[in-house]
Subunit: 140 residues, 6 copies
Amino acid sequence: MSTLLPQEPLQQDPRVKAVFDDIRATRETDFVNNIWRYLAFDADLLERTWAEVKSVMATPSELDPLTKEMLYLAVSIANSCNYCIHSHSAACKARGMTTTQHAEVLKIVSLAAKTNHLCNAMAVPVDSVFMLDENESATS
Amino acid sequence: MSTLLPQEPLQQDPRVKAVFDDIRATRETDFVNNIWRYLAFDADLLERTWAEVKSVMATPSELDPLTKEMLYLAVSIANSCNYCIHSHSAACKARGMTTTQHAEVLKIVSLAAKTNHLCNAMAVPVDSVFMLDENESATS
Amino acid sequence: MSTLLPQEPLQQDPRVKAVFDDIRATRETDFVNNIWRYLAFDADLLERTWAEVKSVMATPSELDPLTKEMLYLAVSIANSCNYCIHSHSAACKARGMTTTQHAEVLKIVSLAAKTNHLCNAMAVPVDSVFMLDENESATS
Amino acid sequence: MSTLLPQEPLQQDPRVKAVFDDIRATRETDFVNNIWRYLAFDADLLERTWAEVKSVMATPSELDPLTKEMLYLAVSIANSCNYCIHSHSAACKARGMTTTQHAEVLKIVSLAAKTNHLCNAMAVPVDSVFMLDENESATS
Amino acid sequence: MSTLLPQEPLQQDPRVKAVFDDIRATRETDFVNNIWRYLAFDADLLERTWAEVKSVMATPSELDPLTKEMLYLAVSIANSCNYCIHSHSAACKARGMTTTQHAEVLKIVSLAAKTNHLCNAMAVPVDSVFMLDENESATS
Amino acid sequence: MSTLLPQEPLQQDPRVKAVFDDIRATRETDFVNNIWRYLAFDADLLERTWAEVKSVMATPSELDPLTKEMLYLAVSIANSCNYCIHSHSAACKARGMTTTQHAEVLKIVSLAAKTNHLCNAMAVPVDSVFMLDENESATS
């Protein structure tokens, strides 16, 4: 049902092969999920997207891996991306999200959606204390 | 610039007053931000919304308070709610979000938006390993 | 194709069973549609969601039941929720929506989407007569 | 704050003038709100948009005028169009929407947003009874 | 999986038949894709939608046909419309979009989504040089 | 009205200064618009975002610069990003977009939004001829 053909004989393009090898090495699994097979129709797009995902999501940082995956999932739900909802729900579980935590993420996401619509509907003015640039001047 | 009038003489409706008192007690501050002043045009809507926010966001749970606020912020960004973006950016900072963590949230949110659009554009089929109900049968 | 398993042997959790019994009694049918089977993975989430749907949608109020379902459908279309589009299209028909009215809802929803994009594209400033809080002061 | 200039000396283009005259005659008021002043930068776009708004919103039909305005408002909230939220909140009030009904619209819109996010998050499969084309064959 | 039945025995309604004949003549093909079969449940909705699509997309204008289809595709991706993503990806290819151009469209769409989320997240104020109505006065 | 402080004394961080210098050199102007001043709170986020914008938008490619800016604008309208709508409307004009072309972009964007909502509302099934992976097998 797609608009592009997944690229299977990946060995043919060395740039594509290099990305797939790095995905497998980084994730320590032979499995490469579909987004990468579809992005492989353009080596440049594939390389850039993987480089960003690897840097942001698969590199140790101040936020722990589960928190990062839950944030990714939350945005994907709000943006109605069925593929990312599935892949990042799975990633959350792989990083230890419990069923109770899954329910909690859904409660927060759906409550945020609710108040997002309420605030937009009422056009609530932003409180001045929330506006940084009216309260301070940049000093860095 | 709003579509409703904020309710100021809040003492007049005891249900509204009770919610405002509970907001102040729960948050340990006299400050009540604008969303509650605008929702106060309908006591029932105000009561229900606060009850849900209090239960989901202001009650100890498996997720820590900062993670919850960051999830709320992520959804608000994706849903383009300017008011909630401001109030929950402030809430994240009040709960200890560092500037580096703020940058990290923005990196994750914007990367998710990017791949959300890519997956929808290519109509990437969901990998079967991500589809729970095709892999297991319910046993609870 | 889901990210959670529907809960079938519902008798096991009395809180889940109570909600299902109430859905059946309120709607006067044995049929319980899928959203409730999936929400049942977390009794608290199920209870809260049903309580809100029952209160807002299944309790007599100033707006008639068909108007309420049509509003629900309109939002679900704008938010690209395929499940809710289906369930609330069916609910509208069950409450008497004619084919002509269905066409009318689609005309309004798609026209609104069109002018929503036009106004955002041009950044049309809001007319001062539409801004309540600039025209009056709160007196309630 | 706009991306286009509103067209003031409207008399200069007879097509623009004709649309403004028709807006005033149809609405029985001299006031022409900003969307039309901004669309007037292109007579064709102005003519087509007004013709559609007039036909769908200002012509008697099976749905009553207030229901139509509430549907328009609901979509505008979901699509985050601040201009349309303001103009159609005002239109709803002009057609008799009470404060209680306004609160009810907000409750429905925000509840729909909530379950829209929940269903997308869980990828709830559509119940077969909601799928028309699997249940019947076209006979018209 | 639809909420409406496609209309097959199209000969029955002369208005529907006339639209289908015009689609076939305009596009020089016997194939009529599904959106028109589903819109045919209401002759008025069908007529208006086709008239607009024909005027905007199938009539020579300042923008070339491929650019127009790519713009249509870009919006459909951002709005998560799976049907339009498929039909307009096909239309782009039929108008000569190369694989490299397809990749380029995806890069632009996903980069725009990324900075859209970043700007909303930071609430970046619009530079005054971008605000037309503050820089000039209307003179047309 | 922002959630972050713009960074003014940019000389202090050599990475930030290098990006600003490159923006000025690439665009051949001293003017640096606000998005870069706000992103400068995190040098890494600033560097990556500019690198991507420069590569995708400011490097010669198969699509001409105006087409690329119009695609960027179209997505920004659909995603309700007021900042990007302003900056890319200005960029389109700087690259030669005429008023008639501006009107054409708005007609296409708003028509796409309209049929996006119609197709989602009716859940129109994708025609099999539009599904690449059902028609061919990958051969690259």
